[in-house]
């Protein structure tokens, strides 16, 4: 796999236009340029609206940023990309102002660049491995911003390219779950010529992209455009359909489905099991975000309610915690705080989100952990007891283990608490398939190359295989599984 990627990346670097472009500016000149700054809404304005925080870079900014890229002979950035995007090639296309070409380059390996440009943890992936970071100890090329730029340019140009599709083969395949892994699998299966149906339990397509990640970070429109394109490719979507409940796998087989991709996600929220956690006003981040994002609870004319809260504490340090705490501010909280048991350095959230949250007047109480909740006479939470923590030796995750400091407890006034301490795999599919091999953590066991599970016609990927992971890893799995399914079906067809 890695060799194939390396070949693919190398190919094209020697083309005349690339060589020309490299010569057009001295390396010294390139490295002396400043990294582009993403224009954003004013922090204290944006924390009162739900419009996207990042406004996107202009053509000039994109080209200027592309100038910084040295088009390295051995590009290390691509090693950091889980789906092996040809990063130098798309950046050089931007430099030469072929923006549509840049988008097409990204789409060779990434089906949802407008999404990934916005939500990937670039600082831990491509940008971490950029020559600038690695060798120059300077700020890396803004690869994420450029990816977003190319994708947005394509979308706004109205010339969104619909991928070429192989001759329809009439073979029915099913995708279970419409999150990034399912969408990526569906897209590639359609390209191979299959008759694809995506089944989704909720009333909206998109999985976490819709119900979890807020509008101010990933507008729904952007996801919808991608879904619309997939419809144009002939992919069918069935919402309100829970595979394993509405119909079993067996029934779907009887209806002619020859193989399945399961991308059912890690939807089950975890709680901490501390006293008082079931008081009113204490939510899982999934509930809080679902009410606001999927059910539009904050809109006057929508029926779903949400408890807005004046003093809001969000427990956790991941993207979900950042999204929740920033949402609470936008719902009108006076005080919104992060309560996180480790320190800022260990926070798993994207760096940009942490910075954005800080600018938006969010308080960070790091090295604190809740131990108990208290409520008023109606059962509404009104206080939380927290304990101070210190960091010890690194644990299995490689991060330093938080250790409680005895006797350090104190109380904070709160009226709303959001618990964002992680999720477990969604159990619906596994519990409907007795023979499916699972890990002790409730994830589905798959062959890493083909994503095939212990049941031959069932493939899986994304959070249901990895536990909570990322959009890009989920998409990578979906694409790999599509290839695996294609091989599996072709072999079966030949055998018959």
């Amino acid at each position: 796999m890695e060799n194939i990627i390396a070949e693919y990346i190398k190919e094209g670097r020697s083309e005349a236009w690339r060589a020309e472009l490299r010569k057009s500016m001295k390396a010294k000149e390139r490295t002396s340029l400043e990294r582009v700054q993403m224009p954003e809404q004013e922090p204290l304005v944006r924390n009162k609206n739900i419009v996207e925080v990042n406004l996107g870079i202009t053509e000039q900014m994109a080209v200027a940023e592309a100038h910084r890229c040295l088009d390295c002979p051995q590009p290390t950035c691509t090693i950091g990309c889980p789906v092996g995007i040809n990063i130098p090639k798309f950046i050089k296309k931007i430099e030469s102002k072929d923006f549509l070409g840049a988008a097409a380059t990204i789409k060779e390996t990434n089906a949802l660049p407008a999404v990934c440009g916005r939500v990937c943890p670039q600082e831990k992936q491509c940008e971490l491995n950029c020559f600038y970071t690695d060798k120059l100890h300077a700020t890396p090329i803004a690869i994420g911003h450029l990816e977003r730029f190319a994708a947005d340019y394509e979308r706004n140009s109205g010339k969104m390219n619909i991928p070429d599709i192989a001759e329809p083969n009439g073979i029915k395949v099913a995708v279970v779950g419409s999150g990034p892994s399912g969408l990526a699998a569906a897209g590639d299966l359609a390209k191979f010529g299959y008759d694809v149906t995506v089944f989704e339990a909720l009333h909206e397509i998109g999985g976490v992209l819709k119900y979890g990640i807020p509008e101010f970070r990933l507008p729904n429109d952007i996801v919808d455009v991608e879904i619309e394109n997939m419809r144009k490719m002939g992919i069918k979507f069935r919402t309100d359909f829970i595979v394993g409940k509405t119909a079993s796998f067996e029934e779907l087989r009887a209806r002619g489905f020859k193989a399945f991709f399961v991308g059912s996600g890690a939807g089950l929220p975890r709680f901490m099991n501390i006293p008082g956690e079931n008081y009113n006003g204490i939510f899982s981040s999934n509930e809080y975000l679902t009410r606001v994002n999927l059910m539009k609870a904050a809109h006057e004319d929508y029926d779903t309610p949400v408890l807005a809260g004046k003093n809001v504490a969000v427990v956790g340090g991941g993207n979900t915690a950042m999204d929740s705490v920033r949402t609470s501010k936008r719902l009108g909280a006076k005080r919104s705080m992060i309560i996180y048991r480790r320190s800022l350095e260990e926070m798993p959230a994207r760096l940009e989100e942490v910075h954005h949250a800080m600018a938006e007047d969010i308080e960070f109480m790091n090295l604190h952990n809740p131990v108990e909740y208290f409520a008023d006479e109606n059962g509404r939470v009104n206080k939380m007891r927290v304990q101070k923590m210190e960091l010890g030796e690194p644990d299995a995750s490689g991060r330093r283990r938080p250790i409680p400091i005895e006797g350090s407890e104190f109380d904070i006034d709160v009226d709303t608490v959001v618990v964002a301490v992680g999720v477990s795999p969604n159990p619906i599919v596994p519990s409907s398939l007795k023979d499916l091999k699972m890990t002790d953590w409730g994830t589905i066991v798959v062959n890493k190359d083909t994503m095939q599970s212990s049941i031959p016609d069932i493939f899986a990927g994304g959070d249901i295989v990895r536990g909570g992971a990322t959009v890009i890893l989920a998409m990578g799995d979906g694409r790999k599984a599509a290839v695996g399914m294609h091989q599996y079906i072709q072999e079966k067809v030949k055998a018959n």
């Binding site: 409940k245 939807g267 709680f271 509930e287 059910m295 929508y302 309610p305 969604n426 619906i428």
Partner: protein, 278 residues
């Protein structure tokens, strides 16, 4: 989109709704529920499936007007469509041959009880049903229950029909009279609490079906959580039926009141809009 094929009012505020939902009709069992969303701006609410017809591809729901969504639903007519219906959700009722089973249903709780009564009868149990309501017109599905029960006792708070008294009085009568091996109690939370306190006195294993607040109904949010046996359970995926003696009733009732103010305001607002239209 799911078409309403039939709408029959049992009383001013309670109606039976027969809906097109072929896949659900096919896979549902006693104890299952669905989540519905009426329109783009609607909320998602859970409703237990009272009956189903796989041949016709329909399911039956019984709905009481308690808030905005149920009021809007009851204002709909046969032929109109509900935007989203998803299910069947939850675990099916555990049915076996227990012997003599006491089924106590309060108010619209009789609707989810009906398929359980049917299944129990089919499994060879002696089924004694107690139907309770505040007043005569709130006793629903009497004929259907009679068809599948060995005996039916009706209780009304005001004595306007059957015997005067609470559901627990009717239950006590049966338990005093004969050996009961198992009980099911379904209705408003307070009724389930006291109903199961009654059976607990006599050590009769009892199942209840909880109707907590829900959002997705697939285990994704935890809105439906409640303590059962000291552990947090998600009613939508771990239930909806639980061992009555393990349920923390006070916590459950507290959680059901979480949005009381908002619900009340929304309902008032809705009534105003209906008035202006009328």
């Amino acid at each position: 989109m799911n078409k309403i094929v039939e709408m029959e009012f049992f009383s001013e505020n309670v109606a039976k709704i027969v809906l097109e939902a072929p896949d659900i009709a096919n896979s549902r069992k006693a104890g299952h529920f669905v989540i519905i969303r009426l329109d783009e701006k609607g909320e998602r609410i859970p409703l237990t499936i009272a009956d189903g017809d796989p041949e016709k591809g329909t399911i039956t729901l019984v709905v009481q007007k308690v808030g905005v969504t149920s009021a809007k639903l009851l204002a709909m007519k046969a032929g109109e469509e509900i935007l989203d219906v998803v299910g069947p959700l939850g675990h099916a009722t555990h049915i076996e041959k227990f012997g003599t089973v006491l089924c106590a249903g309060g108010g619209v709780g009789v609707a989810p009880m009906l398929p359980i009564i049917k299944a129990l009868k089919e499994a060879g149990n002696k089924v004694i049903s107690v139907l309770a309501g505040r007043t005569k017109e709130l006793i629903i599905l009497e004929d259907e229950v009679k068809k599948h029960s060995d005996e039916v006792i009706i209780m009304t708070d005001d004595g306007s029909y059957g015997k005067k008294g609470l559901v627990t009085a009717g239950m006590e009568d049966v338990i005093q009279r004969e050996k009961v091996n198992k009980a099911f109690v379904i209705g408003p939370a307070i009724m389930m609490k006291f109903g199961s306190l009654t059976t607990k006195k006599y050590n009769i294993p009892t199942d209840v079906s909880l109707n907590t607040i829900m959002v997705d109904g697939t285990g994704m949010c935890g809105a439906c959580r409640v303590s059962v046996g000291g552990k947090t359970k998600f009613v939508c995926v771990d239930g909806p039926e639980f061992d009555a003696f393990q349920v923390n009733w006070d916590e459950m009732m507290m959680r059901m009141g979480a949005y009381k103010t908002q619900e009340h305001e929304a309902y008032e607002k809705y009534l105003k809009t209906v008035e202006t239209v009328a």
